[in-house]
Amino acid sequence: MTRTEEKFAALNAAGKKALIPYITGGDPKPEYTEALMHALVDAGADMIELGMPFSDPMADGPVIQKACERALASGASVQGILDIVEFFRKKDSTTPVILMGYLNPVEHMGYKTFAANAKKAGVDGVLLVDLPPEEADDVVPVFKESGIDTIFLIAPTTTAQRAAKIAAYASGYIYYVSVKGVTGSATLDVAEVGEKLSGLRKLTDVPLAVGFGIRDGASAAAVGQVADGVIVGSVLVNCIAEFAQEPEKIAPALQKHIKAMREAMDA
């Protein structure tokens, strides 16, 4: 079993849902990220989505755009993010880490090199926002060979036909995007999401995690009722932005959010 499968199995056995925070790697500075990851786990996170910053984050709203700008301005790079994961792994061998980003920096490093370096660092999965399954034939096998899951998105606009194709490709988990829009946009409709997810369940046994529009304990708990995992990003990245100049305050602020969501989800 992979680390991700083990985690979902353990949660399942305990009757719990996965809480998956997203932060952008290197935001506000690369030297803070590893400690923030440990802080998230300590507060109750089950897995971590770590953003690889990109100069042109087309699928992100202003909050994560700014996070990318901060990270890049302080020297974040793809290899730098992999190094952060490698350090994280020295102290934490059980929490799955999924890298999330855009295709170009990974393609620029080369898929083989990236996969080998990511494996060595202890990365469990990669989600490339602008890599749809149609273009993934050259990428998925390379990642698979290194034991890295390729995580795909499914959106409200995804047709049944496409969803079947994506499900066939998926491993780790499937990321269901709850709303039409960019990260950090409107709140989601849980009933609608639940309906979509029950359709997807017929197609795959891969866990279904939901992101976009989750901002507090109540929305996390509500989504936890219908999904296997709850992904929360912009709310956390907002904390980082708020305390970018007082970095010692970031971890406590993140932990406050994570604890509230954990409690609400487990209640």
Binding site: F54, S55, D56, P57, M58, A59, D60, G61, P62, Q65, E69, L72, S77, V78, Q79, Y102, L103, N104, P105, V106, E107, H108, M109, V129, D130, L131, P132, E134, E135, F152, L153, I154, A155, P156, T157, T158, T159, R162, I166, V177, K180, G181, V182, S185
Partner: protein, 406 residues
Amino acid sequence: MTKANTYAELLQLPDDKGHFGPYGGRFVSETLSHALEELENTYKKLSQDPDFQAEFDKDLAHYVGRPSPLYHAERWSRILGGAQIFLKREDLNHTGAHKINNTIGQALLAKYTGKPRVIAETGAGQHGVATATVAARLGLECEIFMGAEDVKRQSLNVYRMKLLGAKVTAVESGSKTLKDAMNEALRDWVTNVENTFYIIGTVAGPHPYPMLVRDFNSVIGREAREQSLTQNGRLPDALVACVGGGSNAMGLFYPFLQDEAVAMYGVEAGGDGIETGRHAAPLCVGEPGVLHGNRTYLMQDNDGQIVETHSVSAGLDYPGVGPEHAYLKDIGRVNYVAANDEEVLSAFRELTRIEGIMPALESSHALAYGRKLAQTMTPDQHIIINLSGRGDKDIHTVAGIDGITV
């Protein structure tokens, strides 16, 4: 396989997945995939539909004012002492550039698909103006995204768009130029995909845009080819066009791709000079990568981050280029070169003073290279330079360089 054979196959591109060799494709987040599939199917159907084609042709004739002349710049040719220069006068189109050919086509697609709202990105503002124009005519809601830097540089066009009823949104992220405007337009589209048609302004973006924008602009090359034959009794020896995203160049080149004897030159923005690194010439010195939904040549750093570009002309200030150009470069069908800002301004002034035609700064890149090329050729040879737009919008910029406030 003979060369002519290979060139004939170029006309069949892109393939089913929108690829031009290794370039192109559809690299978008999942939310947009379905909309792009729909657009592809709609376009496939309508491009075979005689009624749609007739409506497009009628609009080009009566609204845009086509065909645009192929003008022999006799005086300039004589002074240069080389090849005869012919200017394809896209500057005489309604709204002043080639951009309207494409917006007429895409607005018709919007109309057929029943979307009440259109959006567009714009650099120089020409595509924004052309989009606002067709939106006004069809009664569609219209929002234009424009880098904050370009809003300053092209204030005349900003006001034109507003007069036409469009909302102009200044984009403050990143380098505040065309690429950031495109990011923001894509973000808007993801959010409003149900009721919005995205009118992309160049042969870039995800499939099917590079194909359909090329097809709509190919009227330039079809006319130029026919005009060469009827006016001169022969095809030209060379074609020259500026390349930002590459729509005016693709429009001119495409109908000539099989004409082996016709050389082609795409002119990128050399900015302060290629050697300075301050330019917008991805085909000349960039590397392949993925941006804005397609694989193509990009200006990027060692970490695959997109870098800032520099050009005196807002319309060429873009770190990518249409994927079909990337392929035409690799197979050697088209030569890609650059003209720097200084050469461009000199060509701008020269055409204005010698022929009484004030070109857009974008088009002046083609003129700058065409001038050099002509001087290496003989008076019995012919060059067609695509005069993609008129220069009114750039008077502020040129006056500023001259130290004059107008």
